[in-house]
Amino acid sequence: MSGVVGQALLVAVLAVPAVGAVVVAALRHDRAARLVGTVAAGLTLLAALPLVAGGDNGGAGPDPSPAVRPWHQVDLPWVPGLDLRLHLGVDGISWPLVVLTALLTVLCCGYTLWKVPSGGSGRALVALLLVVEVGILGTFLALDLVLFFVFFEVVLLPMYAIIVGWGGPDRHRAARKFALYTLFGSVLLLVGVLVVVTAAGTADIVALTGGTGLARGPQLAAFTLLALAFAVKSPLWPLHSWLPDAHTQAPTVGSVILAGVLLKMGTYGLIRVAVGVAPEGAEWAAPVLGVLAVAAILVGSLVCLAQTELKRLIAYSSVGHMGFVLLGVATLTGTGLRAALIGNIAHGIITGLLFFLAGAIKDRAHTGDLAELSGLRETAPRLAGLLGFAAVASLGLPGLAGFWGEAFAVVAAVRVGGPLWLTLAVLAALGGALTAAYLLRLLRQVTHGRASSPVARLGPGVARAELLTWAPLVLLTLAVGLAPILVLGVAQAPVDALLPGRP
């Protein structure tokens, strides 16, 4: 594929949803607007998929510079006074996340076509979903630190509006908490980014990756700020407390986007920006990061064991799963980073599916209380079966997507060696067992037993729109589980380039 086509696709990936959002907001007819939005999201996905073609997948080569080799890139000046360039690019680390984002947005817009959550109008929701998509995709594609920050911020208010406009009964408090926590993270990101930019004199991620041109002092300062910023977004224990509220109160599509891709902005930023730009700082802070990650795994799992609400349990499970991803990053090894990347993707797919299912169950039964949701298998066997599948995938059954990220994060920690990392690996493995425990408890409570009164009223049917929405996620869970090369193949070279001389 020629360079121009790649560049055009790259621009289209951001321009199509942006224009789509404007059109959707301008259209008067609600259903037509939702349809236009879904089409725009679909076109975005179609533009994102072929970006992989023409990419230099295999050629890692012995020469590690430059450490970021985008397959396609666009580089235009924007604000020279602030070192801000419109520099976009895609490589093996960002492409899977770009596709995941585009896919989940299509599914969410499509789902909205079928069912609009109560609250505001459907077209406003779709427009906001598209704006969120622009922000997330921009974050993944940005190769300029200041641009990265700008896109990081774009997501915040539309997501706030989605939670406030279409959320559950306690939505105002949850949305405020989400906005303030996230803004706290992103102002730290701003300071961190500008520390790097003023110290190095450039904001170009391609030039900065590898830590060249940055002294140790600024690296440590920058990594501390950046890691804190991304820890809020990911979220890393103990900065996670916005997550359960926001995920529980958000409408189904909001939860799917939140858990599916919004959290990945944090882990992606940690890999691309924090570790990439300040490797010395990363090395210095890795043990702390590792300890916090394992704490997140254990705390997340233990809290899940005590949850009594379906959506809240799934929300808290994200804390644990993202803990595995962060553990992988903290090892600073190729294995660990690859585990983190595939863990990211797997969590996006599986948790997206879980939130869709939880939303479907709550919409039907009008309750999310686990105690009132027994016997789903009796009345809604398909729903129960899908929930079982997603839960089993989430707990990391080999052969399904969730397995690779968690298993290899532990393997990477073991390989680093030393008493600290061995302990962390053992504790993380224990956390994996706890994950299995709470998901199996969830299944036992929800699907088994005698049908409770809210469940007894359920019909067995699943709407065609729902099946269409969920099927891609089910298939991807299987595909990534059986052939992790789908993600790892493209990520191999860039990860090796990011960590020269590490296994």
């Binding site: 604000v79 006074g81 700008v150 774009v154 706030y160 405020r176 803004l183 701003l190 500008l194 300062a221």
Partner: protein, 533 residues
């Protein structure tokens, strides 16, 4: 030395135009006595002033009233920027005044004359080259405002606001004058450039306690005009008691004037070693206190007033970098001044948009009201609500208010350039506090709850005017013809809130300010280039 000076009248053209506007308005009001003509004369004059400032400013720096190398009037890039901004903001405020003037409690001729007189002060302020010119220009800007704040007939809150403003402001001016006198006593100079040279050549001057006291007095006196903590307490009372357009003028032009005066003395005259720590401390206090108190506000204009106190902190913050040696290098200083100017430009645009939206959302001639009264306003006036939301989000520094985002980036950037990372972190954390209350207003606009039926606040400045009086009373002499009538037969006296402002000028100002905010949001380089001149 010859006592006859050659005067460069071209350099003075913007000042002539602004002063001419005031005279023209006065004459128009005397001779024609039609509100529409008076307002049009003021608006045209403001436009002409802006055009004149652009013309003169485009031709390079011009100096006049010179004694040797020291000039009292230097019309360069900064002065042109300030003059254009002041003239355009005055035009904007005139546009917002329609509903107030139509409501009839405010004399049109006096109102427009005072506004034009104040504009004259603002236009000359940026060009002031010595301390006395600076203080006179600043007072010319401020003096008419004492009257404007209290101009509403029969409003106690308005008079209270005017008195507060008057007392505080006069004390501040006295302090500045005393400081200037002491500076003259210890250095023998009044020209800003001369003072700067003296302090650079004779650092031992700073060891004299008198000099330190003088510098402190000048800086403190000027920070009152910016409404920086701890000299901020007049702002909320004055803003809330003043008519809405005057509050808009206070928080944009008046604040701009204070910033420009402060910048002039800090940049050209006073030693950064002394002013830096003071400004750093003031900046930290101002943004933190402003944001914390704004969190508790229940009245719209008071919230905006406290937020503008906090914003003054962000404006001062880049100057705080002068406290450290790393911030006093040539490059870092230039970046700090440019950042402060750039932030001010972004801020006044967003602030004007915010006030325009509040005017549009409120009944004609009413005060800002409570946040409760804005509840659900998005359903009644969706575009005005969107405008207010955009402006507030911009003030919070978040997309889609990119102008505010880049303003914050500029400030943090200049602070890090100056090695003041700690101050950058304070600014950053304050941005989070800021979002908390801006979000509350935005959320209220789209809230689905029922709006409060009757405003129960004990201190409304003036009750929304009885529609019957509007239709028949003083409007006959007021500018009722400048826009579509705000009242109609459908309005019953029991529903004052239904007297929605459908004035075109207000909408035009809101639209223009929003468009400018969007444009500078996507092309912030425009502002950065202007600010660096």
């Amino acid at each position: 030395m010859s006592m006859v000076q050659t005067v460069d009248n071209v350099a003075l053209l913007p000042a002539y135009l602004a002063a001419g506007t005031a005279v023209l308005v006065l004459l128009a009001d005397l001779l024609v006595a039609r509100a529409r003509v008076t307002v049009s004369a003021a608006a045209l004059g403001a436009l002409a002033t802006a055009a004149g400032a652009i013309l003169v400013g485009g031709g390079g720096e011009r100096r006049t009233f010179c004694v040797g190398a020291d000039c009292s009037y230097v019309f360069g890039g900064r002065a042109a920027l300030v003059a254009v901004l002041v003239a355009l903001l005055t035009l904007g405020v005139l546009g917002l005044s329609g509903p107030l003037l139509r409501a009839g409690a405010t004399p049109v001729g006096e109102y427009c004359f005072l506004l034009a007189a104040s504009m004259t002060g603002g236009v000359t302020l940026g060009a002031a080259g010595d301390l006395i010119s600076l203080i006179v220009a600043l007072e010319t800007l401020t003096l008419p405002l004492y009257v404007l704040v209290g101009l509403r007939r029969g409003s106690l809150a308005s008079i209270e606001a005017a008195m507060t403003f008057f007392v505080v402001s006069v004390v501040a001016t006295t302090l500045t004058l005393l400081g200037a006198a002491l500076l003259y006593a210890s250095t023998g100079a009044l020209h800003l450039g001369r003072l700067g040279v003296l302090f650079a050549e004779q650092p031992e001057l700073l060891d004299v306690p008198l000099t330190t006291v003088a510098v402190a007095l000048v800086v403190v006196g000027l920070t009152v005009k910016v409404a920086a903590v701890p000299f901020h307490a007049w702002a909320p009372t004055t803003y809330d008691g003043a008519p809405l357009p005057v509050a808009a003028y206070l928080s944009t032009v008046s604040k701009l004037g204070g910033v420009v005066a402060l910048l002039a003395v800090v940049q050209h005259a006073l030693p950064a070693r002394t002013t830096g720590p003071v400004l750093a401390l003031l900046a930290v206090l101002t943004m933190t206190v402003g944001n914390l108190v704004a969190l508790r506000q229940r009245r719209t204009v008071r919230l905006l007033a406290w937020s503008s106190v906090a914003q003054a902190g962000y404006i001062l913050a880049p100057l705080g970098a002068l406290a450290l040696a790393a911030g006093r290098t040539g490059d870092a200083r230039a970046a700090a001044y440019a950042a402060a100017v750039a932030y001010t430009v972004f801020f006044v645009v967003l602030e004007l948009a915010a006030f325009a939206a509040v005017v549009a959302l409120r009944p004609a001639g009413a005060d800002g009201g409570t946040l409760e009264e804005l509840r659900g306003a998005a359903r009644r006036r969706p575009w005005a609500a969107v405008g207010l939301a955009l402006a507030l989000v911009g003030l919070a520094g978040l997309p889609p208010g990119l102008a505010g985002l880049f303003a914050k980036v500029t400030v943090v950037r200049s602070l890090l350039d100056g090695g003041a990372g700690w101050l950058a972190l304070v600014v950053a954390v304050n941005a989070v506090l800021g979002l908390a209350y801006y979000l509350r207003v935005v959320a209220a606009l789209w809230s689905t709850g029922q709006p409060a039926a009757v405003p129960t606040d004990p201190t409304p400045a003036v009750a929304p005017t009885d529609p019957a009086a509007v239709a028949t009373g003083p409007v006959a002499t007021g500018p009722a013809a400048t826009g579509p009538a705000a009242t109609g037969p459908a309005v019953t006296p029991t529903e004052p809130a239904a007297v929605l402002v459908r004035a075109k000028p207000v909408a035009a100002v809101l639209a223009a300010a929003t468009v400018v905010a969007l444009v500078v949001g996507f092309a912030p380089q425009l502002v950065l280039d202007l600010a660096a001149r």
